[in-house]
């Protein structure tokens, strides 16, 4: 699916884990993120072989994201189950809007 539409797998994996595998929302987000590591690595290698990676830019973004990720994890931990579900549902609808619009 990520190769098909250019979107990361997380937006599909989280609802699958919640609605089909019946994980709670917190476990679904964390588990999806673990799978994203492998999917991202596979994709990055594929693009790197074609020379389609800007290592300098990736380094700068990662410099920031390595600080942001523990912060995001803390926010998730402190967000109640119901609110996290609603927030993710809204994110899905925004992504759908972007797909239809672009």
């Amino acid at each position: 699916m990520s190769g098909l539409l250019g979107v990361g797998g997380g937006i599909v994996m989280v609802p699958l884990l919640v609605l089909a595998a019946h994980l709670d929302q917190h476990h679904a987000h964390a588990t999806s993120l673990a799978a994203v590591i492998a999917i991202g690595a596979g994709g990055a290698i594929t693009f790197a072989l074609e020379g389609e990676v800007d290592v300098q830019l990736a380094g700068l973004l990662a410099l920031g994201s390595l600080f942001g990720a523990p912060l995001g994890a803390l926010v998730m931990h402190r967000t109640p189950e119901g609110s996290l579900k609603v927030a993710f549902g809204c994110l899905m609808i925004v992504v759908a809007g972007l797909l239809l619009w672009t």
């Binding site: 989280v14 964390a30 800007d54 290592v55 994201s65 942001g68 990720a69 926010v75 931990h77 927030a87």
Partner: protein, 130 residues
């Protein structure tokens, strides 16, 4: 790329918000990084996708490390998803190349709206209960 200091600071700051979104929602963050690179940094779409995928790896590792400390990661399910995801990515690329119009994209958007609406409804019910 020739970067001035304010641009470098802007990119790193954007990276922080990518990290927050990624760990909070369990997504890679390519969704926000690719448009950022294409629209604001004038990168080509393929270079933006490749660069975004490279950033996703350390970002997701840092997020998972923090989640795992709190016991949130189901590693067995993650391994199954990763295998499915890598196979799906290869198959998906082929289907996309063989499909001339954007009907798949529209179908996927409708799928997201339906699933998203279901999550929102469940979330409100859960809050009403708890």
């Amino acid at each position: 790329m020739d970067l001035s200091l304010p641009v470098i600071v802007g990119i790193v700051a954007f990276g922080v918000s990518v990290g927050v979104l990624s760990a909070l929602f369990g997504i890679g963050g390519g969704l926000v990084m690719v448009p950022f690179m294409v629209l604001l940094l004038d990168e080509g779409p393929h270079l933006a996708e490749g660069t975004s995928l490279l950033v996703i790896v350390p970002t997701a590792l840092a997020g998972v490390a923090a989640h795992a400390r709190r016991g949130y990661v189901d590693f067995g399910a993650a391994a199954l998803l990763a295998i499915g995801g890598v196979l799906g990515a290869v198959a998906g690329a082929r289907i996309a190349l063989a499909t001339p119009d954007d009907s798949l994209q529209k179908a996927f958007a409708i799928f997201l709206i339906l699933m998203g609406a279901r999550l929102i409804r469940e979330g409100y019910r859960g809050r009403a209960r708890g």
